[in-house]
Symmetry: D2
């Protein structure tokens, strides 16, 4: 019999129980639920709502239950629909009247809201840590290959040569923003809903500051009706993870391109590739592809929660139970992607020659010639136009820019001088990009130093 | 060692294996995978690619594996990443060289595409059947209360009285369109990709018509590259299920309103409600709320798959593995919602009195007075204007429309006659809506008869 | 003053009017609205609700209004919130009492539902036609280059050689399914809601069959409450267009790859590329990139409508007004993408040499060697394993498969014979894929013939 | 001829131009684009890349162009695809060589990224301000009705009485979190990408700190490749706005319920309602419904951008142009919703009697009786069980809780005493909820004071 059965003349049908149960997924919250209950019981004792002996007995028994769940020895009753009822029912079974005292001044509405916040705080800490580790591996990879030049692409077309390390550091920036967003989310969610009751607060003389402090929150939430029906923190976290996965999908796309036969810029360790059941020669970048694909499930989780919350009247509605599975799945996804990527990044072998050849296309240095003309007094737009014509001219002559003679160049760009002939190498092009945040070795070295120091300090 | 290991000098790390495995969820496809393999092997024999004895041995062993999986006795090797490899590996373990012959002229790319199509065909049939059953229950409920009048709402405001049965039949219409869409989806997906190979077809003399026929497909797919990278049918099904869940969310919203203290139009069987851990008086319509909430996860699944497929170059990419979990979850959600709703609908008790009182608001008959004026020659817009003023007038007089005297009415609507005083009852209003598809008892009776006949015929 | 002002004591504030108006976007429906009104008025006359002279006058005036709107001469009053009120108000202004008769037995709820269905019917026809035209261009491109061989990719890795025409025809298949889905959607939406009134039907003696027939519908809808609150057809169309855009995003991705310097498989006409404001050498495949990007807005529109409808109680709610902008934008997007792609496809130049070189990687023929071994009695999985080892062996020898001597091969694959040395060309590999739907020239020729015939017949 | 035409032998077809143009929507960025150009030109002069006279002339002309655009006098050339080219082309037309100098050391890639950030900074400030104003109006409404009691609902069922003001303040909390999130987003985006060039930085001696400072940024971005391809700030803002709209959809749902005939808790000013084209008595809460519906378009915009960015390789791709329309539309939507809601909230009339009657259901005080029992030593779960049985008992007796005699109560709850008979009023129930954040008048008064002070301080 379900624990709320007092009011009902007949048992809930089994099918309804299965439909409505959440124990199969919310048991993940057991540690937070117990922690929350311990704080609650201690406060009940401090506030003289229950006596100290009862409180001690409950706290001790909660400790035992925690140990049993950790070790797999706890017997989850199939009659309990969720983790909260499982634990309370067990307390009552074992402690009788004493156990029956725990739920005073508490509703599952504020209890589950508190549990999830505790859980997310831990998970965010772990994800931020994993992000930092991935950043470290990317920085290390960049550092090992700090002088390697590759074609920088826009529109997937050759644009300008860049340092491979510079390209990699773009992802370190993205991950840093992800980390920042998660930290903001954590700060915002770190308030305690405990003691908000079902929706209205409690008539019992509870001390919400005490539980908030014991649970490490920055303080209690301010409005009980908001506290029990708020899932902003779930959605905000899912939005942060969706952006994170978007970043990982971009990195994955780059990697899928780079390992392909058309690029051969890098190769991956065999551990992160799989073969084909049919084609014996295949070595596919499955981890990168799966990561790109898993972006979908996190986007989907975000939409799921936004849909759940759309148009819900205050306060708590059972729809909110649907917050957990998408949340848990997205957290698991993010953590597994981070875990595997930090290994995969370590195992990347760089084919500097292939990159160098691809980066040597002299058309990629056309902008440097424009800049040279600007420095020498030609208005930018005219310089751009002239070099555009030079590009066409070289195509007509079937000669690459770097093989044109000065006089051939001067036919189109009369301002050209001898030194222009030296412009068409990737090394010179890269070296020239000395603006802050640019791809010159000096600038990239500064950025590498910045990140190494920052990451070493643990953020 | 993974089965494709021939090419690799080192084992895939365990973490990569866990990241990439699909066996934990694609084992659900075991029956389809075996069915597909049986058809494939028989065709290989017919086509003389393997000999009859080998084919027989494999088919027999596949039968045994099927039985073992059904009974829970099959030992899924943790080294196999998916259901296809699990079964093939087992065949090789048990049959040696004979087992090693099965994968000729086949790739997992075409195999999994075939498996999913077989699986979806079965699931669609089941869902269409469940929809029909739910329609039957709704029709039966409508039939039991065919003369009950309720307020018809637009903008959640009193609009015009309608029959409760008419309101219910609106959902039968929605479900019918769901069923239609699913049937179209089934027809479209019922072609066999088997024999498309990894992407290019096969050099072996296979007969794709034979396998297509044996598997009950309408024929083979026409382009091997499309066949292995197409997941339209998954997305189309998810879109159909998203619309279906949207319908169920609307029905759920109606039910949540109707059981609330503000309406008390119906009550639900206790089995489909739950109480509160804190408030002893509560009887919450949890099933309806959960259903409304579960709409989110199906919307999310649709977005997940659309995201997975966006911008993928041809042909197969590992991202496609991400098709299964959202698909399976959405199918399970739809089936469980249908299963529980058909029970819940049966247990609805109708509070005809509460509906009748709510439907007796004479303002809801204002449109009928407009219609009376139109019949009596007043241009519609003028009639609408006059009755609007009458509504205001009655508010000023603090008299409801049905209590105004003829002369009071004529002050604002001089065209009014004695018989107008009879217009302001819900019964008369409903009875008048005799247009096809309208809410008059005759029209609703016709629709009830239509549905009873149609549903009885099994569609 | 807004036309429904009779009941209200004060004017709607301008800000509310701007917030709520839809004329700025629903004026697009003017032709359908007029068509619908003409049918309605004729029916009112046939049914003796208004007299023939009034009907004639209204129909004539509607004709004039249609002409004025087409020519830009119609003066849309800023006081009318939508296209329906704009036209009715104009009729009343011009025809007085006669014009005031038109809205009898009609609500904007059924009127707008009818207008949108009429509109979508036309738009679907146009989109299906544009799809057919795009298919024709792709088929023509495939036909012009029917013997060109390219590397077939899975996981963006070299897999097996395929015909370029075969790759292109995969998109013709996708587009055909898009066309099929749209046709199903059109069939399903082609029923007339007109005469459903606000929600309950009408007390006036209307003939819904007459208007349905005049408007080319297959008949009237069956339930008035469903008819006015149903937007399934909008969502279904958006889902169909989302899948279509997903297909176009894949084609775009292929094109973006193919025109890049790493591939140089094709080049686009300059008209479909743009340069860079900074880099003079750039020729970017902007149309393909924009198309890939525009996928997002159609996915977004689908989610927008699913969100709008989630949890809405029956019947009409003003939320439904939000159906139009995402719908119109998605239709415009689909049509513009189709229009420009059919031109862009025509202008593709194929670099058969670059494709051939990329397709000549002998590893891509490894599967053919597996097949040869299977034909010669080696169990598939053993053959796959052996050829996998041969691939490794060739890497160690630093010799490509096609340059290995028979004895070198036999060291790893003792079953190999002289003729195996001939297997490692792309031409032979492609030629061998003779299974139905495979990439051999014969099979592709059959498919080209199939499509040419089918498309010429106008579907 | 498009301005990048130097390289091309033929004009872009008109259809491609229309497909690719963004001027029709990005002209909204004109002020930011000009501001950005002014800062850029001044820096070019400081850095001696152009001379002071040229810089002055350009800055002056940009000022004139700004004035012309503001006044509607600027002639946007139809040959310019975007706002950036429109302005640069105009400069060149008017200033010749001098105007042609402006684009040195700049690409549209960094220019547009800078423009959008400037634009969003302004828009976020405005939205945060509008949120504060709406909070003020809600607080004022709560303050005006600070003693009104209403039924607090969970699952839309009567739960416990609460103050109407308490319910309203829940929305003030939500809006505060929205404001916080937007402020975090603003801080994160407030770095200058200007000077990142197309992707690699610049070879010209630019000073990015100077432009960053002049434009009010906290500093320049650190990685040029990231800077031009990052749209995190757009997605983060859209996620924040999606959550905000979710909140508004919940408030709208509450309002739609409250104004309905089943509740009649409040009434809205006529200005925010509309009537029916058919039913003269209707007064529909259209603004609330439209707001609820508009939630869909913002969710859709979020998904649109997440889709656009998914799987894009570095760096800039033209897909990014698709960021603007969903962004602009979502900002407009949020601002219009805030603008109209702050007026609508002001015009709400509260029907305290209807709320009081609904809140007087004695079942809603059942929890208070449980609490009384807990205070008197009964273990919570037993107390909950007993009161549950009392609820059933009262139903069987057909007597409401507040009319039961002490001895009737004691039959089920022997611990009951005389004072329990006083528990069953809404006033007493509300008064007792004195826990922090609870609904007692004292607690709510504290919260009202908190918000008044906080909002008065301008946050």
């Amino acid at each position: 019999m379900a624990i709320w059965g007092g009011r009902f003349s007949k048992d809930a049908d089994e099918i309804a129980a299965v439909f409505g149960e959440s124990l199969s997924f919310d048991r993940r919250l057991y540690a937070q639920d117990i922690k929350c209950s311990v704080a609650h019981v201690r406060m009940l004792a401090t506030s003289k709502i229950i006596d100290d002996a009862d409180a001690s007995a409950i706290v001790d028994e909660l400790g035992r239950i925690h140990t049993e769940i950790e070790s797999g020895d706890f017997n989850f009753s199939s009659e309990c629909e969720d983790i909260h009822m499982s634990i309370e029912t067990c307390l009552i079974d074992r402690l009788g009247e004493t156990g029956a005292r725990i739920h005073a001044a508490r509703s599952r509405n504020d209890q589950v809201a508190t549990d999830i916040r505790l859980y997310l705080r831990d998970e965010i800490d772990e994800i931020v840590d994993l992000i930092r580790m991935l950043q470290e591996r990317i920085v290390a990879l960049a550092d090992r290959h700090s002088s390697v030049i590759m074609p920088g692409l826009t529109h997937l077309q050759n644009a300008q040569p860049v340092l491979f390390a510079h390209h990699l550091l773009a992802y370190v920036e993205m991950l840093e923003r992800d980390s920042d967003r998660l930290t903001d989310c954590r700060r915002r969610l770190n308030r305690s809903p405990l003691g908000s009751g079902a929706l209205a607060g409690s008539t019992l003389p509870i001390d919400r500051d005490q539980t908030a402090a014991e649970l490490g929150f920055d303080g209690p939430t301010r409005n009980s009706m908001d506290a029990v029906s708020d899932r902003d923190f779930v959605i905000e976290l899912l939005a942060d993870l969706a952006i994170f996965m978007m970043h990982m999908s971009r990195l994955s796309e780059d990697i899928v391109n780079w390992v392909s036969q058309r690029y051969t810029f890098i190769s991956l360790d065999d551990a992160f590739c799989t073969g084909s059941s049919l084609m014996p020669q295949k070595k596919n970048p499955d981890i990168a592809e799966l990561t790109r694909g898993k972006t979908g499930r996190v986007y989907g989780a975000l939409i799921a929660l936004l849909t759940v919350m759309k148009g819900l009247p205050l306060c708590y509605n059972r729809d909110l139970q649907e917050d957990k599975e998408p949340l848990f799945d997205s957290i698991d996804t993010a953590k597994s992607v981070l875990s595997i990527y930090k290994l995969m990044i370590d195992g990347i072998e760089v084919n500097a020659d292939a990159m160098a050849i691809a980066a040597s296309d002299p058309f990629m240095m056309a902008t440097d010639f424009v800049d040279w003309l600007v420095v020498n007094g030609v208005p930018f737009r005219s310089a751009h136009e002239k070099v555009g014509q030079l590009v066409s001219h070289s195509s007509k002559l079937n000669t690459s820019l770097d093989r044109m003679t000065l006089s051939q160049i001067q036919e189109v760009v009369p301002e050209a001088e001898e030194e222009c002939l030296l412009l068409f190498t990737a090394e010179r092009s890269v070296a020239g990009k000395r603006s802050f945040g640019g791809t010159s070795p000096e600038e990239v070295a500064k950025q590498l130093a910045y990140w190494k120091k920052k990451l070493a300090s643990g953020h």
